[in-house]
Structures are given as structure tokens and as C-alpha cells.
Amino acid sequence: MPDHALLTANIAHRVGALDLHISFSLTSPWTVLFGPSGAGKSTILRILAGLTQPQAGIITLQHRTLLDVEKGILIPAGQRKIGFVTQQPALFPHMTVRRNIAFGLQSLTKEKRDQRITEMLRLFRIEDLAERLPGRLSGGEYQRVALARALAPEPRFLLLDEPFSGLDADMKESILNELTTWLAARSVPTLYVSHDLAEAYQTGGDAIVIEQGRTETQGPVDQVLAPRRERLLRQLGIVSRPTQVPVPGESQTAPKP
């Protein structure tokens, strides 16, 4: 594992038909965890967040051990300072948007808490929704509040499990731009799950490809995902032959005739 790694994970976990054996090290502030549905992406994120305990493994976040099954180290989810937003996040239905965002800010003084809430409401353009209950929000609004709630405590690491899948393209792009700017300003590394090739390209950074519970390849997005991109373009009839891009794991992922 590289010394400058932001997060390293070496996990073995078996649940139902999924037999997870993954190992990766994140060095880029933005990494896309790419793979088909059922490959184990969401399970990996739950393990990193501390919501699922794997049968074996080690997880280190910025040189702090979050999990070492062999040594019996297990930092609880609430102490990991990891933000996590899923495709279908669960806001607290009995609390207003403001109270939802404030939930993770209990350790702050009232003044700082109010300041942070205002910042989040402004960042996600949800000021008008502050006193509304989650049941009265649209899909896009709901998702933005979930992001605001996850970012409000200023996590050391952010996990995003396809959080924009329910949003229209304009809204998605707008939120993504503001989010990446905010994350970059605060140096919050992010692991972003996607099974959408175009989305993975759009967000850039590094990519880790997961196939059937195994780490297949890892590297810059445009290199790692190039074979898949070429294959997709060929299927669409846009290019007739693959470009020669040296990619680790090319032999496993090369487009089939």
C-alpha cells in the first residue's frame, strides 16, 4: 500500500451469493468504484462506513486503523467521521430539513451549528425548505437534503452510492459541480459508486473496477475504463476498432469480437 494512500482496504466478506475479496488503496481525492449491479459495490461502502462488519480485513483511513478483524479493532460507524449518502437515503421523517441537517452537529456550539446549517442550506440551494418535513420534498430536494446532512459534520471521507440516480441531468451536473468544489476546498476524499460509464468519465479522478466481488483493475478513469468505453462505442457503431490504450488488466477486460 502506498504511503500517501488516503484510504486502504483489504476485505473478505461473504454474504448470500456474494463472495467479496477486495483490496485497494485510494490516492486520488475522487475515486469512482465502478462495476455492474450485484458486483458488491454497495456492500463495500457499507463495510467502509462501519455499518457492516466483514469476516476478515483491515481498513485504514489516513493512517488511522478503522478496522482490523484479526486484532479486534472496530471503530464504530459514528466515530469514523465518514459521510455516506445512498441512492435511497433515509431522512428522519419526523424532523424538519433544518433538524435533519443539525442531527450530526450536536458537538458544536449553537452559533457554529446554525452557521453550518446555513452554509449547507445555501450550498444545496434548499434555504426555502428548511422548515419542511421530508415527506413534503420532491425526489431531487430529498437527495440534496441527504447530501447536506452528510456533509454538515465535515466528514474526513465521503462515500456516495449513486446518490444522483434519481435526478435529471441538469440538476445532477449542477449539484455535482458544487459538491466537488466544496469537497476540494475542504480536502474531503470521496469514493463514488457508479455503474454508469458516462457518469464515471464525467466525474474523472481514479477508478476501481469491481467484478463479482473482486478488484479487477485500478487507475485513472480514462485508462481503466477505456476498454469498456471502446466496447460501448463499438456496440453503438461509433468506432470500428479499439484504440490502443495500455491498460492494466487489459487482457481480462478487452472487448470481445
Binding site: G50, A77, Q88, A90, L91, P93, F103, G104, Q106, P153
Partner: protein, 220 residues
């Protein structure tokens, strides 16, 4: 109308409901979210009073809390008098007899809360107590209210357990249902009719409260 019996019945139902909620809420929390393998045994035991004849339960309690057993002797030593044929005996009996009426709805209420909501609370650093106070109790408030009302009305109409463990001591253990039994035995049908009507009204009003409040919560 036996006002003394009415007062005692209301006191018994109130004390039983309050104490039972203090016990049933943590138990329901554990039944809904606990992972122990023997949870099923506790679940069955907590439901048992629903099926057991009240006289059987009353008999066992009478023996268990009496001077013939070690727990009974310990209890007598601690409170200075036998629990049987006293108000505290009635409370203990009523709590056990009404246990499923509180535990069943509250456990269902806790179980209906999406696990993602609890995950979110844990991720945001909430400890178990905060999750209970700020998430579980508010979200399960309708179930808790239902449990409380069922427990209250069930205790008001209780007969078998009360008679076995408390006997029929005016002012001490004679509740409305026992007073009504006495009235029938003495051929005082008009009085028995009034008592029966009162018991019926209390139960109906309590159920109306449960349904009206449930509808209000659903609309909110």
C-alpha cells in the same frame, strides 16, 4: 356504584401502565433489534399471558410471591409484608398479565422503522440512548400510545389474576370487576348493570382514542 372500587381500579390501571411502559419499551427495543439466539424464548414468554388462563397465572404468582418460595421470602423481607392480597401484588400480577398488550404493539412499532434511518443516525454519531430518544420513540409513538391504552383498559377489566392474587378486600384489592362479581352474587343486578356499563364505556372510549390518534398520526 362502588366508588372505592372505581378509584382503586383507576389507580391500579394507571400505576400498571406507567410501570409496564418503563419495562416494555426496553424489552421491545431488544426484541426488535437484538440478535441473541434465545430471543425467541423471551418473545414466547412475553406472549404467554395472552393464552394462559388468568387463574393459572394468578395461582403461580400467588405461590411464587408467597412465603413458600425463596423469591417470595426475599420480597417479604424487602417490603416488610406479603405481596399477596395487597395493592403491590395486584400491580405485579397486572403487569405480567398485560405484558403482551404493551410489548406486541411497541415491538411492531420499532420493527416498522426502516433500518436505513437507524444507520443514518449511527453514522451521524448518535449513541443508543440518543437513537432511542430522538428517533425510535418519536417514530413509534403511535405504537407506544396503543400499547399504553390497551394495557390501561385491559387492567381495568381484569378479573382472574386480581381475584387469585388479591382476593376481595374492600379498599385494598377489590376492583370494579370483582365488585361487579359480588353484586351479581348478591342479586344486585341494577348495580351490576351500572358497573358493567362503566367498564364497557371506559374500554370503548380508550379504543376510540387509539383509533382517532392513529388516524391523526397517519395524516401528519
Amino acid at each position: 356504584m362502588d366508588i372505592q372500587a372505581l378509584w382503586l381500579t383507576l389507580k391500579l390501571a394507571t400505576v400498571t401502565t406507567v410501570l409496564l411502559l418503563c419495562f416494555a419499551i426496553p424489552l421491545s427495543f431488544w426484541l426488535a433489534f437484538g440478535k441473541a439466539r434465545w430471543k425467541i424464548v423471551v418473545e414466547a414468554l412475553a406472549t404467554l399471558p395472552l393464552l394462559l388462563p388468568p387463574t393459572v397465572l394468578g395461582f403461580y404468582l400467588l405461590v411464587l410471591l408467597g412465603p413458600r418460595t425463596a423469591p417470595g421470602r426475599l420480597l417479604i423481607h424487602l417490603i416488610g409484608h406479603p405481596v399477596a392480597f395487597s395493592f403491590s401484588g395486584l400491580v405485579i400480577g397486572s403487569m405480567i398479565y398485560s405484558l403482551p398488550f404493551a410489548v406486541q404493539p411497541i415491538t411492531s412499532g420499532f420493527s416498522a422503522i426502516a433500518p436505513e434511518i437507524l444507520d443514518a443516525a449511527h453514522l451521524l454519531g448518535a449513541n443508543r440512548l440518543r437513537v432511542l430518544m430522538e428517533i425510535l420513540l418519536p417514530l413509534a409513538r403511535r405504537a407506544i400510545f396503543t400499547g399504553a391504552m390497551l394495557c390501561f383498559t385491559h387492567t381495568i377489566g381484569e378479573f382472574g389474576v386480581v381475584l387469585m392474587i388479591g382476593g376481595d378486600i374492600p379498599g385494598a384489592t377489590r376492583t370494579l370487576s370483582i365488585a361487579m362479581y359480588d353484586q351479581v352474587q348478591d342479586f344486585r343486578y341494577a348495580q351490576a348493570n351500572h358497573t358493567a356499563l362503566l367498564l364497557l364505556t371506559v374500554s370503548l372510549v380508550a379504543l376510540l382514542f387509539v383509533y382517532a390518534w392513529g388516524r391523526q398520526v397517519r395524516r401528519a
